[in-house]
């Protein structure tokens, strides 16, 4: 399966969205030059990778060369080969837009500082969001020319869907005219699976699963956006068999032992259920192991990126279309993670592959 040029990573808060975005960027950068885009100024994904961004993009707005690109779109070479990070923000996109429209720079600058202008932009919240999407469209277009991947660390599901709904809303407000044409352009960019796709992150938890399923419905239905996959994050590697848990639960035994084993097995069971339900909804599930490490840093992200690589680019991916038997885990899965990926070749097969995946588990 070919990946879209630009992949926007979103999910419920707390599902490891930024970590997955960072790991995906690492994974893709091993294949092609990749751009990691952050949609707020915190740049958490870049920070997790150790790419500290001490230089605020705004500080460069005096730079004449930067002027035409839009104030925020300044690529910052990182310490990782083939990986660059940038940060986009609604505010800077709006500034770039104003500076385009107002030819006299001094006036544009004073205007941006005026309270009056603040009120006006507050009255048109869709405009800022729209300019961000327009910027993503341009970034993706440029990446296509340079044959690069783009990974976007987006806000959590609700806000991301709001953002992606803006072009449709603008088209309704402006049924004719240039804005309508621009919005239609952005909409067709978002609906083009070769240029734009969403990666949903979730964890083996009820709420995260619900939110991912609902988001997938809205994205594919109302917004006609393609969902590349659901990254099921934090799946604990299976450890105990049912028999072993019973053994630990014997009368007279230390109850804390059985509880520990049950806790571990319970998370595994819910992961299996999550995988089943997501596959049933027609989502391609990409499983990522829970990393039991004291910190989440560069080494851990490398490990996640290897897991992603094995699942997104399985060695036999040349023969696509053949799936259902995930009998042999990809050999390059370096992690201790449960190595099965429920490959969803459409909605018909996943139930079977989920079953077979389960039967391999010790439990």
């Amino acid at each position: 399966m070919a990946l879209a040029r630009l992949i926007l990573v979103t999910g419920k808060g707390g599902t490891g969205k930024s970590a997955v975005a960072a790991a995906l960027a690492l994974c893709l950068a091993r294949r092609r030059p990749t751009l990691l885009v952050d949609l707020d100024q915190r740049m958490w994904a870049a920070r997790m990778l150790g790419l500290e961004s001490s230089d605020n993009p705004r500080d460069n707005s005096d730079d004449a060369a930067a002027h035409d690109k839009g104030a925020a779109a300044i690529a910052r070479p990182g310490a990782i080969a083939n990986l660059e990070t940038i940060s986009l923000s609604a505010g800077t996109e709006l500034e770039a837009f104003i500076e385009r429209i107002v030819p006299i720079k001094a006036i544009a600058r004073r205007m941006l500082q005026s309270r009056t202008f603040g009120y006006v932009s507050a009255a048109l919240p869709g405009l800022e969001a729209f300019l961000m999407l327009e910027r993503l469209r341009i970034v993706a277009g440029r990446a296509a020319l340079e044959d690069r991947y783009v990974v976007v660390d987006a806000p959590a599901t609700g806000s991301a869907i709001e953002l992606l709904s803006v072009p449709g809303a603008l088209k309704q407000i402006a049924p004719l005219g240039t804005l309508n044409r621009l919005a239609a352009n952005v909409e067709s960019f978002l609906a083009d699976a070769s240029r734009f796709a969403v990666l949903l992150t979730l964890t083996p938890q009820e709420l995260a699963l619900r939110e991912a399923l609902e988001a997938s419905d809205v994205l594919r239905g109302r917004l006609s956006v393609s969902v590349a996959a659901a990254a099921l994050n934090c799946v604990p590697p299976p450890l105990f068999s049912r028999r072993e848990i019973d053994e630990l639960d014997a009368p007279g035994a230390d109850r804390r032992f059985a509880c520990l084993a049950q806790w571990r097995a319970g998370a595994g069971r819910f992961a299996a259920r999550t995988r089943r339900e997501a596959s049933r909804a027609g989502l391609r599930v990409v499983e990522l192991p829970m990393l039991f490490s004291p910190a989440m840093g560069r080494a851990e992200l490398e490990e996640l990126s290897r897991a992603l690589d094995a699942r997104l680019f399985p060695p036999n991916s040349g023969k696509s279309g053949k799936s259902g038997k995930s009998g042999k885990p990809p050999t390059s899965a370096g992690s201790a993670g449960s190595a099965n990926v429920a490959k969803s070749a459409g909605a018909a097969r996943p139930a079977k592959s989920a079953r077979s995946a389960r039967s391999e588990r010790p439990e």
């Binding site: 808060g13 707390g14 930024s18 707020d40 915190r42 958490w44 104003i98 429209i101 107002v102 006299i104 006036i107 544009a108 004073r110 205007m111 005026s114 009056t116 202008f117 603040g118 009120y119 006006v120 507050a122 009255a123 048109l124 919240p125 869709g126 959590a156 609700g158 806000s159 709001e162 809303a169 309704q172 407000i173 402006a174 004719l176 005219g177 240039t178 804005l179 309508n180 009820e206 709420l207 619900r210 450890l239 105990f240 053994e247 630990l248 230390d254 109850r255 804390r256 059985a258 509880c259 520990l260 084993a261 049950q262 806790w263 571990r264 039991f292 490490s293 004291p294 910190a295 989440m296």
Partner: protein, 409 residues
Amino acid sequence: MTTANPSHGLLAGRLLVCLGPGGVGKTTVSAALALGAALAGRQVDVMTVDPAPRLLDALGLGAVDAAEPRVVPLDGLADVAQVADLAGLFDLADAASAESSNVVELAAARARAGGVGGARRRPARRAGRLRALRLDPKRTFDAIVARHAPSPAAADAIMQNRIYRNLSQALAGVGDYMAMERLLELSEQPATDLVVLDTPPAREALDFLDAPRRLLDLLNSRAVTLLGGGMRRGFSVVDLAARAVLSAFDRLTGLHLLGDVQAFVRSFDGMYAGFAERAARVQQLLIAGDTAVVVVTTAEPERTAQAHEFLAALSTAGIEPRAVIVNRTLPATVSAAQVARAALAPALRRKLERAAEDFAALHQREAAAIVSLRAGLPAGLKLLAVPDLGHEPAELADLARLGRSLAIL
């Protein structure tokens, strides 16, 4: 509930506002705190924003129109157990499935026997009450428009406005403002001692606290004049530039979008005074001495960093938070060393040791996040923890347990 419970300082006031980044379980914590206060004998209203379906069910708001407060039954909740460790979680699950009715009866008997004390300043035996409601920003806005509009025709004009229909929820933090409005209504009810407010997900603490000011600024703005009407005297070069941009924008769109915004803002003309007066009262309420603001977070580096940003923003705004609550902390369990000494088959013992080590690594990650959270906290700010139940709260007993288990970190 005993006086040793660390939640007391939070629940004794008139208003408790829960702020925090998205995805940390603000709604759950708000509901658990509200329930705890009601069980301690107070008359509590909790306003939730966008709660999860199971939490809605737990609060009895699932299938019904929950824009009005609904009474939550408190029977049998007074004596739920604290969640102390991992084994405790499983004991609870067992008790719930095997003998739930007995547990409830036992709890009720204990409550009758006087095991439950009241909140400090209240008579010990006063029965508490909890009502829950769900914020519906659009409906609240409609109601306010209907109330303040000079005539039904004026209200109609607003509601028919294209901007109002399409963008009113996104407009200048209308959702946040509506939460404030509802809060004001609730806090003015004489039958309510304490209002617990869950807030909409926000990136910045001030998004919410600033909402009234931002909406008022917009309604009272000179931008209205600039947008479509004639220029006033005394305009500046900035105004000229703004006007140039705005007309460029209108040319670009080929529409009267800005005219619509102007009409929208203008239609609030006669209502400005009413809005301003209410907004001022909300601001008063937020800084009042008997208001407690808490920041909810989880023990993850990204969230603790955001919690610090929230705290800094609050301090800038002159609001002194009462506590930081770390939600979903891991329960305690056995250590690998303890497992190593156990009389178990070697293979099984090795697996169990591995599980204990894995769990310990997660504990270590959590501890590091809490250390970074604690660093730089203002002196005297309480750091509290709410444990992870291992599942989404699905019933009131879960919420009661969380409230009971609130502990000082």
